[in-house]
Amino acid sequence: MPDSSPSLSAPRARDTTTSATNSVRATERVVLDDQAIRRTLMRMAHEIVESADGLDRLYLVAIPNGGVPLGRVLSDNLESLTGHRPPMGILDTTLYRDDLSSRGSRPQLRRTEMPSSVDDHVVVLVDDVVSTGRTLRAGMDALMDFGRPSHVRVMALVDRGHRELPIKIDYVGKNLPTQPGEKVVFRAEEAGGGEASGLVGELELAVRSEPGLTAEGADS
């Protein structure tokens, strides 16, 4: 599934993601650094506050891996703007994917934790990079198994285009048109104190070009 691969590489250490396995050297340019991402997330929190009717019913649902640190920062921002911290769930979409039978091996499952019912809430799905829209389709199906939200919105740090399904993003951090063979990589460093601290380490978004790789190959 093309648009889920960037999030798969999210929590890894920086140096492991840059080691190219093929002989052609991959080049990488940073598109958004930590500061830029945090500024973007503050702007997006403002947008959510402006547009949401029923801020008290807001519920963030992060799609792992990349959506989780973004959701945390967004949640902090929303709290500082409104004084109210929205609940945040984590929803793995793997078991809802549409390409499971065409793959040789099964993708690793990530965790799902939905702290409370989504019934009648305004759910904002949080993802790092959106492309084909297939992950979001899976995410919406998964979400519906947890109840009946009054609204579902989508927030993505990056929209890289190449949509294959009729899905629009409500809150976009950055539009980033990409070429075949380019891969958008979002990374979040583990913060000191680990997962439980709720802190988010350094964030970075980069575009990696691997000449010779097709779009298909770059995303697998």
Partner: protein, 306 residues
């Protein structure tokens, strides 16, 4: 990399076991939902092919399949009628023609799932073959221990009972030793296989020594009908010597857990007082069985390619 079939723990690497347990840990969450179903295996068919009756394992695989949205067909065969070899291969061919995506097999003869795996297009999961292996039971036991103890490496696991004839014991010995636990087996000498130490375990005929300092104590079901007179003089004598009760459990670690693959012969291998409450985790084993079997089905069923 997990292969096409799941036939035994002996064939699995430590990494394979970790992958299965991690997948099962994710599957546990689905059992806590109001809607306990995901669409992953929609349109896939699971056949439960049981040549030997087993309500528990069969139900567990059935629920696991249904929670992944597979169509589940239970196919129980009495193996007593025709010549076994013909029945088996004929059954296999018949099944093949129905295009299942995974076949779960239980048979009283060791090696049957392996033979079927050679003939069938669909992947095969061994749900117990003779006295050989019962991989899904051992994996759910490992899942339960990991849940209770955090990790398996470095633990001491004592298995008590008919080690020689138990597929549960054999699969658990392979599994727990691969994950770095010290495994001890205990029972009357007639129930301990010769050269059991070659599997990397310590064997004891004195229960107290076997339990001393253990983190996990697992009692196996005694097949009373079959074994009385053959392996021990009387059920009562077995119960007093090797039956687990609070007094004997005192020698284990203070936070030791008690396990049993079920169904329990109360008052024989396990005292009433231990069967129902902590430190017994028997019902956790059953609950984890569903998540573990969901993981196996996810990892092998309908992977495409044939």
């Amino acid at each position: 990399m997990i292969g096409r079939d799941i036939l035994g723990i002996e064939d699995l690497s430590r990494e394979d076991i970790d992958t299965i347990l991690e997948t099962a840990e994710r599957m546990q969450e689905i059992g806590t939902r109001e809607v306990k179903k995901v669409p992953t295996l929609r349109g896939r068919t699971l056949i439960n092919l049981f040549f030997e009756p087993s309500t528990r394992t069969q139900t567990s695989f059935e629920i696991a399949g249904k929670r992944l949205a597979a169509d589940v067909v239970n196919f129980s065969v009495s193996s007593s009628s025709v010549s076994k070899r013909e029945t088996l291969l004929d059954t296999a061919k018949t099944l093949d023609a129905m295009d299942p995506d995974v076949v779960v097999v239980r048979h009283k003869v060791a090696g049957v799932p392996h033979r079927l795996a050679e003939v069938l297009e669909a992947p095969v999961i061994n749900a117990g073959d003779g006295a050989h292996e019962h991989p899904s039971q051992a994996l759910l036991d490992m899942l339960t221990v990991r849940e209770q103890k955090g990790q398996i490496e470095g633990l001491t696991v004592t298995i008590i009972g008919d080690i020689a004839h138990s597929r549960v014991a054999r699969s658990n010995i392979y599994g727990f030793t691969k994950l770095g636990a010290e495994v001890r087996v205990a029972g009357p000498p007639t129930m301990l296989p010769a050269h059991v130490e070659s599997l990397g375990v310590k064997s004891f005929t004195n229960l107290r020594e076997a339990i001393e300092g253990a983190d996990v104590v697992m009692a196996l079901r005694i097949q009373m009908e079959r074994l009385e007179g053959a392996c021990f003089p009387s059920v009562r004598e077995y119960a007093s010597t090797f039956g687990l009760d609070r007094a004997k459990l005192r020698f284990a670690k203070e936070d030791a857990i008690v396990m049993h693959p079920g169904p329990v012969n109360r008052g024989v291998e396990l005292a009433h007082e231990l069967a129902d409450h902590r430190p017994s985790v028997i019902l956790d084993q059953v609950r984890n069985g569903v998540a573990l079997r969901m993981a196996l089905l996810y990892l092998v069923a309908g992977r495409g390619g044939h």
